[in-house]
């Protein structure tokens, strides 16, 4: 087992279940198996499978927050042509692109820096990871104070270097930049940890071979580290892209969606609870879900292929 303080090796992946070979398969054990999975199955069915079906059904109904519902064909899907929705899609895509690049580069730099055997390296890693233990909503409230309170160290610093008063959340661009800053602080250690587990799985003999062949650091990075790290990099990208496309807490708390910083999920929330039209919210949800499943499947395929 590896830990933040001594990440030297990761455990071998568990081998497939040996049941087929040894354990006696009796009718009793089979029945017991069904009994043991029953609680989980019940919860997954009621709180995941049924809502999934219900969502599709709702999207073909006029379904107000209060009052009776009635089928209305594909009318709800007109929500996808709403200018507010289209604006939310563009903003979400922009946010996703910026976050994924900035966060990815910084986390990669941190992983390279912290993936060394040095004294006290574990402490550094723990500190860098600490923000990831704080909830995203708490982080957003913390930064809300950092951006807006007059005496915050951030505003003091800006004043000290002569920039005067900065409205961190006062325009689309500012809010985007400030949010990316916050997200980077919150998630850099998390992605660093994932990338470090990838770095550890690279055979040190390969570095030794590259050194003997006379490769410089830059060549080693491009020819050894990056190709072998591709599956891990792809994984962090899947997580970052999916997480950013579904961004909600950070913008809901920091800007409330003002200055055109509403994301797709904020749009779903507005349709459902401000416009009180659950049918339209369900239609947007279905569309988002389809797109995300496609994105996930494509990215997983890429990981598999590149992982070979």
């Amino acid at each position: 087992m590896i830990s933040l303080s001594s990440p030297t090796r990761s455990p071998a992946p568990a081998s497939p279940a040996p049941t087929a070979r040894r354990a006696p398969i009796s009718r009793g054990r089979r029945r017991l198996g069904i009994l043991y999975v029953a609680p989980m199955t019940l919860l997954v069915a009621v709180l995941f499978v049924i809502p999934l079906g219900l969502m599709v059904w709702m999207s073909f109904n006029h379904w107000p927050l209060l009052g009776a519902s009635a089928p209305n064909g594909v009318t709800d899907y007109q929500a996808l042509r709403d200018p507010l929705f289209i604006r939310a899609v563009w903003f979400t895509l922009k946010y996703t692109a910026v976050t994924t690049v900035v966060l990815g580069l910084i986390a990669f730099g941190l992983a390279l820096l912290m993936h060394q055997d040095r004294r006290r390296i574990g402490t550094y890693r723990t500190v860098l990871f600490l923000p990831s233990a704080v909830g995203l909503a708490s982080t957003s409230l913390l930064f809300y104070g950092l951006f807006n309170a007059d005496g915050s160290p951030l505003n003091n610093l800006v004043r000290a270097i002569g920039l005067g008063h900065v409205d961190w959340l006062g325009s689309t661009g500012n809010a985007l930049g400030s949010t990316v800053l916050m997200i980077t602080w919150r998630f850099a250690g998390f992605y660093m940890l994932i990338l470090m587990t990838g770095l550890q799985s690279i055979d040190p003999a390969l570095y030794e071979a590259a050194r003997i062949d006379g490769a410089n650091r830059w060549q080693t990075m491009w020819r050894v580290t990056l190709p072998l790290l591709r599956p891990t990099i792809a994984l962090t990208m899947v997580l970052s892209v999916t997480g950013s496309l579904l961004a909600f807490d950070q913008f809901f708390i920091l800007t409330g969606g003002r200055h055109y910083t509403a994301t797709v999920v904020i749009d779903i929330y507005r349709e459902a609870f401000l416009s009180q039209d659950l049918g339209r919210a369900a239609a947007v949800s279905v569309a988002t879900l389809v797109v995300l499943v496609i994105v996930n499947v494509v990215q997983m395929r890429l990981i598999r292929r590149e992982g070979r």
């Binding site: 830990s3 049941t19 040894r22 199955t41 997954v44 009621v46 995941f48 402490t123 708490s138 909600f248």
Partner: protein, 272 residues
Amino acid sequence: MVTRTRSAGFHVTGLALAVLFLLPLLWTLYSSLNGPEAANGKQGFGVANYRRLIGYGNGLPTYLLNTALVAVIAVTVTVVTTTLAGYAMARLPFRGRNLLFIVTLAILMVPYTTILVPLYILLGWIGLQNSLVGLALVLAVLQMPFGLFMMRNSFTALPVELEEAALIDGCTVGGALRRVLLRGVLPGIVTVALFSFLAAWNEFVAPLIFLTDGSRFTLPLALFDLQSGSLGSVDYGALQAGVVTSALPCVAVFLVLQRYYVRGFTSGALKG
């Protein structure tokens, strides 16, 4: 000489980064306890921010209790259901085993924020709307893919002989699970409980949608209320005290159990 310079360079960079990453947390802690707002108009330290926070809305104790209740139920349900199911997945062959595994892992593919609206309706049908139990059950389901994966792998990693010996000694399957195997998969259980706790304690969007009654609010929701409810004049002091209150248990739990957290990464569960 060269190595010493490089080592110094590393520690300078490392320290600078550490300060940068700690600063927001330390500033919040410091300013929640220091300044005129914290010390009743005087300079220096005081707990006035925390006093105002305790008195806010339905009172901090209510919010803490609600959050703790949700976390405890979510963790318990996740651990119990995924331990039982993980054992069955690893050792008890039954029809539909693969299907169930795939459906559960599909929860990872389906972003949960997209099914919150139908969940809201469904919870209404079964009488769990605006209920902390309903919220906790939903949060438990969200943790099931990770939990199931983790527990299945934990049971698979145990030697079959362990269970066989217990069975020969006269244990029933349930008895062997309870008395012998549980100890072997304890690290896995702690990992699942830790992830589940952090997720449940910090969840924002699900309670925002499911809970309408202020007396049922969880801590993140109450703090959001504190920030957004008073237009124009946000009580930053109380807000910072609230952020500290909400972050402290997570930071403490993480520091104590960090090796279990890292275990969650390296077990390959993220690559599921």
